[in-house]
Symmetry: C2
Subunit: 419 residues, 2 copies
């Protein structure tokens, strides 16, 4: 057993979150793709069977009241709240992240003062945020300014209405400075909207503490809500009265069953709702969130950093020099819960024509039970979910990566698959 494997064993033995793994359905594979789709929490199948078979099948329409379907969006929002540092009553679950970005951006432009007609957006963001920001700008008569997060403070002005930022970059795993950037946005008199898709459930967000205005996020990554589970919207309580939604569906009406022809928005987080909530997915998410009972998010962050530190160390030890380079910052303050390795043929390999190999490398890893994902054109992404990934997993993943890149297929001079 290698020195790193021995250390992994010791680290797992003292891991205070180690027991959480038993609350997930996992197999012998090392699952490092929880930053894309979280693993199945063991409580979900039984809950979903009850929602389908009893709540829908037997109680049918009565479940809107008796099974708490109607109030699920706010109730589940309050389960997410402590994970992102929010007091209750500010988060509502529903719709996709893209739809929530649209609601948030249009609403904040409507809150902005006279003469503020620019939306600043992270140009390196997950694409959907940029596309939706462009639509929100077009529909509100604003100009879109795509810049890197580092450039944000320099472009803020009296014309800035809103700034949309990602807490963690989906590609590189870089953690952006939420407190500092939010303060800069506020100093310019503008409103900050944060996308928490890649941070919620992986590290402390501190929405209330840092005075974030609005935030959105998905629930199928570190929150393990299942494929395409509903997203959420946070509107800080003192802004809720000014939240003027571009999607004022009947679920956000002050009296939804009054069936009135005039729209009158509800008070509170409910105002962020739109249409009938998607109950099956929503209640699967509610069951999934039970794994967080008694889990301090600071302990999650500490383990996350230990896992990614250890992974980087193992990669250095096992992967031949120069074959991969990390795109993820070394500094803890700039790192989310994933490691992105650039893996290109120009890095120590002589594959003809510089054809991309990262996609094929990831296929080999998956065949050997190490599941990460590939992002075009040359990035291997590995996500570390502290609730179910252990240190032995990390050592094995790096070892398999090293062996794969040392194999004939991907070494210098091999032209076998250059087609």
């Amino acid at each position: 057993m290698s020195e790193l494997a021995v250390r992994a064993e010791k680290l797992d033995a003292v891991d205070e979150l180690a027991a959480k793994r038993a609350e997930f359905v996992l197999d012998e594979a090392v699952y490092l793709d929880g930053n894309s789709l979280g693993a199945l929490p063991a409580a979900v199948p039984g809950r979903v069977a009850d929602v389908v078979g009893r709540q829908w099948g037997e109680l049918r329409i009565r479940s809107w009241d008796e099974s708490g379907w109607w109030t699920a969006p706010e109730r589940i929002g309050d389960l997410i709240a402590p994970l992102v540092g929010a007091a209750p009553g500010q988060i509502v679950v529903g719709d996709s992240t893209s739809v929530n970005v649209f609601k948030a951006l249009v609403a904040v432009v409507r809150m902005a003062g006279e003469g503020r007609d620019e939306i600043v957006v992270d140009a390196t963001t997950f694409p959907t945020d940029g596309y939706i920001a462009e639509s929100a700008a077009r529909m509100t008569g604003c100009t879109l300014r795509p810049v890197t997060p580092a450039e944000v403070p320099g472009v803020l002005s009296g014309r800035t209405a809103a700034v949309l930022l990602n807490h963690v970059d989906y590609r590189t795993g870089r953690l952006h400075d939420l407190p500092g950037l939010t303060a800069a946005v506020h100093a310019a008199g503008a409103v900050a909207v944060w996308d928490l898709c890649h941070s919620a459930g992986a590290l402390p967000v501190g929405l209330d503490e840092h005075g974030v205005d609005l935030a959105v996020g998905c629930t199928y990554k570190y929150l393990n809500g299942g494929p395409g589970s509903p997203a959420y919207l946070y509107v800080r309580s003192d802004l809720q009265d000014r939240f003027d939604s571009p999607l004022p569906g009947w679920n956000s009406h002050a009296e939804p069953f009054g069936m009135r022809s005039a729209y009158e928005p509800a008070a509170g987080a409910v105002r962020g709702r739109v249409g009938t909530p998607d109950i099956l997915s929503m209640l699967a998410l509610e069951a999934a969130l039970e794994v967080w009972d008694g889990v301090p998010i600071d302990a999650v962050r500490a383990k996350s950093l230990a896992l990614t530190d250890f992974f980087l160390e193992c990669v250095s030890a096992y992967v031949p020099e120069g074959r991969v380079e990390s795109l993820t910052p070394v500094a803890h303050g700039e790192r989310g819960s994933q490691v992105a390795l650039r893996c290109s043929p120009t890095l120590g390999s002589a594959r003809a024509g510089g054809a991309p190999i990262a996609g094929e490398v990831m296929k080999r890893l998956i065949e050997r039970g190490v599941v990460g994902d590939f992002r075009h054109p040359d990035v291997l992404r590995f996500g570390f979910t502290p609730l179910y990934v252990g240190f032995a997993d990390v050592e094995r993943a790096a070892r398999v990566l090293g062996e794969t890149l040392s194999a004939g297929e991907f070494t210098a001079g091999s032209g076998r698959r250059t087609g």
Copy 2:
């Protein structure tokens, strides 16, 4: 056994759809609320268990390809297509009805010619359509004109950009003239958007045949997709290239995994997608749609009309004269698949102060196993789902309604519950 009960038995004996009932999970109650939440199709629990346990739990991220998750929105759209008279490739499933109304209305305003700046909307529509239409008008610089469907032809002009109509009124069950109104809208050079929530799965819609431009609908009523199951959007094939979505999420990109910062819309129905599809609910819907295998929608319509005819006849026979009045048209061409009965204390009862009794009447019906619903302030709604409601159910429902309204609690002179 009454004459009506004998007739019900005979009608059930020759009902060619009677066997379909066995494909649903039902009990001894008469479920006449399928126009709000369809009953559970028997195929759903097993399918959902497989989606959760195997597809998510075991295959995890691989299911996006291997379990067909990624293509579900179009695939399931094509399952709905024959039920609404659409050729394949024009329907995409996802988001709520409200969100789809927004996409549709903004897109059609963008298709409209110069000088067209009015959106005409059914003032008697389900409220969310009106709220969303108001938002779409506000965000596109249009004026909203709420009118009754009968008034629509008279207000169409060279300024009309779009007309949003409901195929069947949610409250009265009135079926509107989709072919005639669509032709009138087209004659005025405008675009017609139809909301099919209360018609799809209950009667032939004929989207292609009648040249409807865009349409939306939910899937949890007569399509039995489950609580809050995803809605759908129809964009006629020759309009798809001009469909310019206000919600251009990454799922509607021509190359979603290219992760490009510039938006380029996909061709076809896919363009109506937004964010990551909600897989659990979507695949539950896919299983639910299997009950339609081999069911001609014309047979559904014939049985639906026979059921509502018979219900109205039984109500006349069993309910004391003048205690209820039907808001649902008698003419078949104007009737959907529900019957709405106005039930107010002024109708033959001397309840003090004219206090509403419909809500209490519905409670008693539900206690006696006849499940309809109540719409403020005085409407009893009964939905007739031809796939699982039989004629004996209809006779029993009317009989229980008659007995309830004949009981002391609701008869003339009773002031017991006037608080």
